[in-house]
Symmetry: C2
Subunit: 440 residues, 2 copies
Amino acid sequence: MDSQKQRISILGAGLVGSLLSIFLAKKGYSVTIFERRSDMRKAGAIGGRSINLALSRRGLKALEAVGLKEKVQESCIPMPGRMIHDLEGNLSFQPYGKEGQFINSVSRGGLNELLMSEAEAHGVEIRFNHKCEEVDFDTATAHFENGEKVSADFLFGADGAFSALRSAMQKTDRFNYTQEYISAGYKELTMPPTANGDFALDPNALHIWPRGEYMLIALPNLDKSFTCTLFFPFEGKISFEAIKTEDDVQQFFESKFKDALPFLPELKTEFFENPTSSLITVRCKPWVKGNTALIGDAAHALVPFYGQGMNAGFEDCFVFNELLEKHGAINPALLAEYEALRIPDGNAIADLALYNFIEMRDKVADPMFVLQKKIEKRLNELFPKKWVPLYTMVTFSDFRYSEAHALGKKQQAIMDQVLAQPNIEENWEGLDFDEIVGRL
Amino acid sequence: MDSQKQRISILGAGLVGSLLSIFLAKKGYSVTIFERRSDMRKAGAIGGRSINLALSRRGLKALEAVGLKEKVQESCIPMPGRMIHDLEGNLSFQPYGKEGQFINSVSRGGLNELLMSEAEAHGVEIRFNHKCEEVDFDTATAHFENGEKVSADFLFGADGAFSALRSAMQKTDRFNYTQEYISAGYKELTMPPTANGDFALDPNALHIWPRGEYMLIALPNLDKSFTCTLFFPFEGKISFEAIKTEDDVQQFFESKFKDALPFLPELKTEFFENPTSSLITVRCKPWVKGNTALIGDAAHALVPFYGQGMNAGFEDCFVFNELLEKHGAINPALLAEYEALRIPDGNAIADLALYNFIEMRDKVADPMFVLQKKIEKRLNELFPKKWVPLYTMVTFSDFRYSEAHALGKKQQAIMDQVLAQPNIEENWEGLDFDEIVGRL
């Protein structure tokens, strides 16, 4: 299909739908977004998703491609590493990468509003309060709850983890689909600025209180507050279910998150008033049916533990845009290549995100994990092209997620052998690093 | 809930729903089945499912528990083994188990009609042309397409691989769900009796033409016909997609199924007129929500390669009935035990069924597979309690599927070592069988 004046419908004015619309509008398409919620810029309300997100290289690269990188970075707080809080409140800082590498805490609502307004500035029409209920794939027709039917030349489902387009696809023959919840949920808690208007904690870090089966984390906001998130089992001895009273909350935080407690003045009310949300992973195949395609969370909803949900969705847009430049139009060859590239990458980052919960809540507190980071840092300094730590591949590089995942497994197998050597804690600097890299 | 006069709704008057209704009616429940199709006993039409099925021990045990085993067996054709057809038409017979063990070819439609009529004879009401569209879990209320809403004390979804109850559950939070299609589909073909009114092939076998990536099978029917099923890739070089003309069909069957071809007079028309159906595996968790529960294919749709779909569903009913006797009523303790027992078993038989496609289409033609069968037969003769071949555990025993699956993996690992010994073909009778069993 010729790019000029072709009509594109996008379901969902979230982060991915809004960014995608800008890419397409810049290519000359006539783009309409249908969003089931009302306009968050007017309502002032953000719908049930996390408050801040970690923006890193893949997301920034996509924003740069539409000329918005600098503008977004103005609202970012750099986090060059994790700040680990132990039970006694002792702190230790673990850098994410090399000097100068950092991820960015950014407001979901702020970024979404910016992208919607930019989209409109590029001629995109956003029609709010349009809940899609059914889709005709071949005619790219969306049927809305209000009775409207809108056809287009192509339709994207950028409508998130509970995508209406994907639901329609699921009813068709030979659609492979998995939705999987982890046994933990999460609850957001507010850590306001201190009495004298400062951040309660160091703002240039992602704070983690790793406690084995669960954890508390905190990301900084521009208003000098932090948003804390408790990732915690739904059921069991230590769980949301088991914490029943304000006293339970108080005692639990006193014994497990002592140094955070003084900075959580509303804890006891927020704990019971704020929702407990679940954490879903979605995988499916195909992503394309007729003249429709899934993108972002609609195609590959992730748990948040690698900070890659938005970044993966933005990379989908970036890759789609590159394919559009290569193929010149949204045609079967482009769509086949989009699926061939992004389905394995979506599955890989889904796996990595699930794994990273264990790393964040548990391993970061393990001295052997810290040692591994040191050894891998040295390997990377000596062989910057050959040995790139997994976190760096995922967060600071252009490696395909699927390649990073495969290479990361190989590297981990080697590191497991290295760390099993006797007295490795004392002797690691004497390792034969050439030989180690040679095992790859 | 007290068993007397409690109202039970069952979605689906298929094999499992009908049998379940008999179990429940015999316990004193007031049971109504809602079936989306019309009454197959009047319409004379069977809805889009396979024509015959393999009934084995688990299914028979459940039928026995409601007093129907003998009646059903009257319509069964025993199949004590597989008859393998090679490219040249040479035959070799592989028994399924010991002397006297066999599976049964039975008509899906005939068995279903029998069960429906038995259900009605036990006071069960079957309401046809009732398509469920939504379910309220706590009130066990089904909403039907015709506008009716029917509440009950408890509701079962026995409504198959595309269950309406499960669809409703899938929209709720923390419902884990997977639907997965294999890359092959199937097409049924008719092998009528010969001109002089005989079976075209030996009726006391399940016939297989194993061809590596695909296969043809044939099961006998009471009218002396066979129903053949071609399991074949949808796409690719050798696939449904690639066979375009009647000549293509003729040539393909001539080169691959030469000895079957003379007995398939309608092949060239049937191949294009009969549907090509897909093969789905469904897994989910939980199976219980409020006052509703999934059972049979609705909970665990299987691919057909272990001949266990109906048997697993009937075993669900048998186990539910046992739990009803243990707990005295459908209560939370019963439902928790039902899930704890049957979800792992459903997942295990789903795995086993997927694996068995490879065995049927490929391994049965491998001399090493035949040798393994011989060695395992010997092991079973020497140690009947300790070494039971996997096929026997699944098909002729009461082992839980999950136990059979786990033990089968252990046994296969041992057999892989045994078969890797040099000259095992000649030397296998001299093996130290005591030592082999000791490895378990």
